[in-house]
Symmetry: C2
Subunit: 390 residues, 2 copies
């Protein structure tokens, strides 16, 4: 009985290691919703009728202790692995490391991923979130800017209630990329006895850096410039799609790297017959491509939720609480990351070790920038597998 | 007679080297204007009544060959050194290396700096430029977006006419920071027999990088989002100051570095009584400071000129013309530069040497980012002095 899954796991591992081929999680993924009648934020505000979407891969064991929680990044969702149906264009974003026989082995672990509060992608039918775009039960209207400020810790506390409802007793790992790595660190800080390991991919360490506080501010600035934003009161009136698109364009560029730009676009033109020197509107390919990608993603994004999510990330700072953390930490920076460059992971690892903690660092080499932690996380696959085995 | 200036030069050099103290250029700087009845752009468009401001430091020799041209950066002006009057708050931006006894020694060299076409700072009384903000003599109205696209090469060709009018026969060096370094390289490409040396500070090498093509696009994006921009037709109607301020904020952040953010702001709040976690509008100090700086600078900036200047920088590409360049080149990148990181200068130097050219590289060490090439250029002072002597 045991040999068949073991064999499939071995094949998957070999394929991944040798060819970079990754199989999708092999069962259809089902989206579910977790609800709480009310939730009190870290800041002491009560939110009624909180709901977040989640998905799971693998099977919870009887002890409830074979669990890995995957927290999503700033503009991401809980769709970390697998497909909802065969015909899906692509599997979840970390499918290369989550699945049978993969570093986060779904034959062994019960993997849970959940949408944060104020998730950006409110018009993605597979996302459920509670944020400024939600209807305030007290008024019957969208919250807009009357929604309370939420931090990443708030999302973590809601997700803890979700795990409790599922019967989870222990996390073998809390993990995530970027904003997800922040949540993973919050997990280990707020629930130190619950979390065995943290896998902190392309993260800042124990606090968001001042530089990224500034970056998060400019990442939402274009939304605020769009007159349709209307100080957050746009529901039913036409959404600030231009502002969102430009904001997403800016996020993408700054989350990449000059090496990526050179390889992907070089000096190619958007239209070979329209030289940029001839007319002000004639573009290079990098301009038109980022513009189109921004526009495409704007249609599923809520402007206010994006603003609140930026704030939530700005608030991450557990420097004064490091002593609480019992988990072992694997830091996985990306060598070309311009958002959270590897030096911050290295410093955080040293700081944690200096306080008696156990920390390892594995660097994803590449020139894809910050997004290497999402798109090329497979390069850290064996490091993650080894860390999970220790 | 000779000993007094020599002594003052020595004192200035010692003060600069030992204390980082720099003396202002010791004579009042006078702003002048150079005019051409018409100019035909690289793209073949005729612009009537072209005028650019310029200033000079030092004295032209009889042979007209003791000249250094200083080209300004993207958001800069021709005010490279000295003060217009004693009470000026600050001298020109490169005052630390230009003056009597300094690396660009005004006892020896006649230094000229000129405003580019489409200079951003149209409301600075010391700037004269011709660009979209200018009155089209044919219509009596502002050009707006009817102004032809201009490249950095266009500015260089206008500046060559200026130097001809002054009797300049030879440049000992064409130099500049960032967009100014681009112009310096254009000088050596277009006028190879005229230019002995290029000092290319925080520049890209022989072409703007694809990454910076994208960056220049997002650097003007906020202007285009501001409804007051009105597709460039805002003269006399209320200018897009919010868009300009946000654009300048973004330029400043991306032209800096995480080390600078950490040292300058850390986690300080804009108002210690207004915690960012309490209200959406409560800011960190880095946010409020960059915002205020952007607003302050917006008042002297023309939106359309900024857009055209971004385009001019995007168009820089002399890779196919390197063989023409006869000048020796000193590349001066900054170690923490995230716009044109040092690897590009190194690669360009290698490429130039491989073609038989003479190139040197001196790296400004620091954590101030791209702006180290403007604010900390004195660190390269002795390297520049040595290069000028060879």
């Amino acid at each position: 009985m045991l040999r068949i899954p073991r064999l499939s796991a071995l094949i998957a591992a070999v394929l991944l290691a040798v060819c970079g081929v990754s199989h999708a999680y092999d069962k259809p993924v089902e989206k579910k919703v977790f609800s709480m009648p009310s939730y009190v934020t870290v800041g002491g505000k009560t939110i009624q009728q909180v709901a977040v979407g989640y998905e799971t891969y693998g099977t919870l064991n009887a002890a409830g202790d074979n669990v890995v929680f995957v927290a999503h990044f700033y503009s991401g969702t809980s769709h970390a692995a697998g497909k909802y149906k065969e015909s899906d264009a692509a599997p979840g974003y970390w499918n290369s490391i989550i699945g049978p026989g993969k570093p986060i082995d779904t034959e062994k672990y019960f993997v849970v991923s959940a949408d944060t509060l104020s998730n950006l992608n409110t018009k993605d039918p597979n996302v459920t979130t509670t944020g400024p775009s939600s209807i305030n039960p007290a008024t019957g209207k969208h919250y807009g800017l009357s929604f309370p400020v939420v931090s990443m810790r708030d999302s973590v506390r809601v997700h803890k209630a979700l795990l409790d409802s599922l019967g989870v007793k222990k996390l073998q790992a809390a993990m995530g990329a970027s904003g997800g790595s922040i949540q993973a660190m919050e997990w280990a800080t707020v629930y130190p006895d619950f979390v065995e390991r943290v896998i902190h991919v392309i993260g800042p360490g124990f606090s968001v850096t001042p530089w990224v506080i500034g970056l998060l501010d400019v990442w939402v600035m274009p939304i605020k410039l769009d007159p349709k934003w209307n100080n957050g009161d746009y529901y039913g009136k036409g959404e600030p799609l231009d502002g969102i698109a430009q904001a997403l364009k800016l996020v993408t560029l700054t989350a990449r790297h000059w090496g990526w730009a050179e390889k992907t676009f070089g000096y190619k033109l958007a239209d070979e017959n329209k030289k940029p020197g001839d007319e002000l509107g004639n573009q290079f390919l990098i301009e038109s491509t980022l513009q189109k990608a921004g526009m495409a993603r704007a249609s599923t994004t809520d402007a206010n939720n994006k603003i609140y999510m930026a704030k939530a990330n700005q608030l991450f700072n557990v420097e004064s609480e490091i002593g609480k953390i019992k988990a072992r930490i694997l830091f996985v920076p990306a060598s070309s990351d311009l958002v959270f460059p590897p030096e911050f992971a290295q410093k955080a690892a040293e700081k944690f070790r200096a306080q008696g903690g156990k920390a390892e660092v594995f660097v994803i080499e590449g020139d894809g920038g910050h997004l290497d932690g999402v798109l090329n996380v497979a390069k850290a696959g064996e490091a993650i597998r080894g860390f999970m085995a220790r």
